[in-house]
Symmetry: C2
Subunit: 405 residues, 2 copies
């Protein structure tokens, strides 16, 4: 029997009626003759509610305790989906990340999956059951519970699809697929029928809905991923490795992300080892640095700016402050009101001029660019948060993304 | 270092302020030089809320899924208590029932603890940590999560006290100890300074706050248990095995319980094997039968009545109905609006007349007795639920429990 891994996001599971709806969809997949493993996120805003609860107890909740706390959200939704399936007459069982054998590294808050021991899942599938797995969580070799970070359930789903050699991984969410831009910002945004891993990865990094690591994993093992709506039967977007040539020659999408904060270290001595000294402590506490810009040196001193996720800002400042003092920096600045806007497309790597067109479009809209970073197939600008929607609309128009394809 | 196991009930952990208060109490015990293992129940009404949530999904939630769902409540409270302790500067770690090594049998909803593997707890204690353990839950040999039934956190605490050879087990709750009757029903009820295991067990069976299994376990291993208030420093009630002789010669308390439903099987053939045939299916689904009464036989037919916990009534009826038909019973009756009232005291086993005094007191109050059952040191009457508070007050007065001792 062919196996499909599905993933249902939190907004698809926000209340009892939606839980039943998800169970019906899972059941319908089963009725078509598939084995199903369904990964569930926490219901609605549960994770945020639990985080708030933790912060009422402590301004800096212990990361191990916070992960164990947050892991309960997915367990709740999984048990409810399994109950709903049983109520509909389907054999089903829910498994925690631990029970599902999802072993991770010991990095609380954004643990990476080390490997999956699928023994229990396989046993349940052999017994004819639909298996519901708590997303977003795993366990360390010491049996401590970890979480995989925002969007971690996507990674759980893709990792399970890899480990179980599933035919495909279906990501069900509250939108109908991957769009040329967020349709809430750009009404004329177009749904993409397909997109290749690399482009999707860049879109995800740039702020589109999926967790980038899930795309990396899918690309690595060539697992086809379908992103579609929980609430409609419209075909979604297929993420895979064989996108037709002609689609490769354009900008595919504009993405934005407001979860951006900037830290500037002022008056840093311009000598070797300084950047390492600044970024090592961030790596040690598991904070990813995104855009890094170093100004031209004036009299042996330079300013170094970098961005981190806004939620990481307090911890990032804490980690960087002692080093900044130690290396004799003049000061530390931070700015939380920033956003990223990016254009993505494999076409860019063969055709020059995309960057110029992007900067021109933003300039014409009167939007100031604070920082710039590029990959082979992505150009990202950091702009003020309050201008980011305008920036997305301007770029969508400049690259004529509303047209065909 | 001497070890104390503490247990904090749900009403002691109802909000963030109470969580901090509990953490302060735990910290204060540590400051006195003790090692502390603290078992926590779910916050406030969490368990009931989760049960309601399950019933919005299914009228008969799958027991395995329900247990996994309910287990999250205690995990939440434990992580918060551990965070609060860390915030106050104490090293602390929270453990799920699984992490704490609490192995149970596979009886969902009311699993019994099979054994405890305290390795992880001991490791954390050796590292100088305060260990917070999720009450009410354990795991089977197949790594499935079970719960221990209402009040199960008491049993978790006593079982840990046994396994860890604690000096004593302290049960913190929203009352100051064990009373001669529920002070909300009888304002002149008196707090007992001490009570022996046997009497406490009968009081617990009869409806007083603790889970009876926790007392059985404490008695078996002679662990002293103190029941006291989370919110005051008043000395509580010591439950132990060496109560002074003179206290043994009286009725010690009146207990009541409204979680009672009666099932009557009408017109049962009066021949051997019938009772076994009726009660075996109940045992198989894990339902405890409490009071059993069989009427005198008339023309080879009899009526058989028994009580179960009210929450078990639907499942009990389901289990008994096919057997009742099979043995040719005339019908099945059930009544949910009943309650138990009991008097307890070791004195009863040596002095006659207690039963007569009890029945007289109820008769004088105009309260009808529906069923009667006795143990060596307890007499229990089943009465209509709406009369039970009156019954408690009448008995408290009849046995002069407001006086001294």
């Amino acid at each position: 029997m062919t196996l499909i891994v599905q993933k249902y996001g939190g907004s698809s599971l926000a209340d009892a009626e939606k839980v039943r709806h998800v169970a019906r969809r899972i059941g319908a997949t089963r009725d078509k003759g598939y084995q199903v493993v369904a990964v569930c996120s926490a219901m609605g805003d549960t994770t945020d509610d639990l985080i708030r609860l933790a912060y009422t107890i402590s301004p800096r909740p212990d990361p191990r305790e916070l992960d164990l706390l947050l892991s309960t959200g997915e367990i709740v939704s999984c048990t409810l989906v399994a109950m709903a399936l049983k109520e509909m007459g389907y054999p089903a069982v829910s498994l925690t990340g631990f029970q599902a054998g999802i072993r991770t590294e010991r990095t609380y808050g954004k643990a990476r999956i080390a490997h999956i021991d699928p023994q229990r899942i396989l046993k349940e599938l052999e017994e004819g059951k639909i298996v519901i797995v708590a997303g977003f969580q795993g366990f360390t070799e010491d049996m401590d519970i970890t979480t995989l970070g925002r969007g971690g359930s996507d990674t759980t789903a893709v990792a399970l699809a890899v480990a179980l050699e599933a035919e495909r991984c279906e990501i069900y969410t509250d939108v109908e697929g991957i769009y040329t831009a967020d349709p809430r910002i750009v009404p004329e945004a177009r749904k993409l029928k397909e997109i290749d891993y690399e482009e999707m990865l860049e879109l995800a990094v740039a702020g589109a809905k999926m967790q980038p690591r899930s795309i990396e994993l899918a690309a690595l093992y060539r697992v086809p991923v379908v992103v579609a709506s929980t609430f409609s039967d419209a075909p979604g977007t297929l993420i895979h490795g064989e996108v037709s040539m002609e689609l490769r020659e354009r900008v595919r999408g504009v993405a934005s992300d407001t979860n951006v904060a900037k830290i500037t270290v002022l008056g840093v001595p311009d000598r070797p080892g300084i950047a390492a000294a600044l970024f090592e402590p961030l790596a040690q506490v598991g904070i990813s640095v995104d855009v890094i810009v170093q100004n031209a040196s004036v009299e042996g001193l330079t300013d170094l700016s970098f961005t981190v996720a806004r939620s990481d800002l307090p911890r990032a400042l804490e980690a960087v402050r002692p080093v900044a003092q130690q290396i004799g920096a003049r000061g530390l600045h931070s700015d939380e009101r920033l956003a990223k806007v990016s254009v993505v497309g494999t076409g860019m790597q063969y055709a020059p001029g995309y960057a110029a067109r992007m900067f021109r479009a933003l300039a014409d809209a009167g939007i100031n660019i604070e920082m710039i970073t590029t990959s082979e197939i992505r150009i990202t600008c950091i702009v003020r948060e309050e201008r980011v929607k305008e920036a997305v609309r301007a770029l969508h128009k400049a690259f004529r993304l509303e047209e065909g394809g």
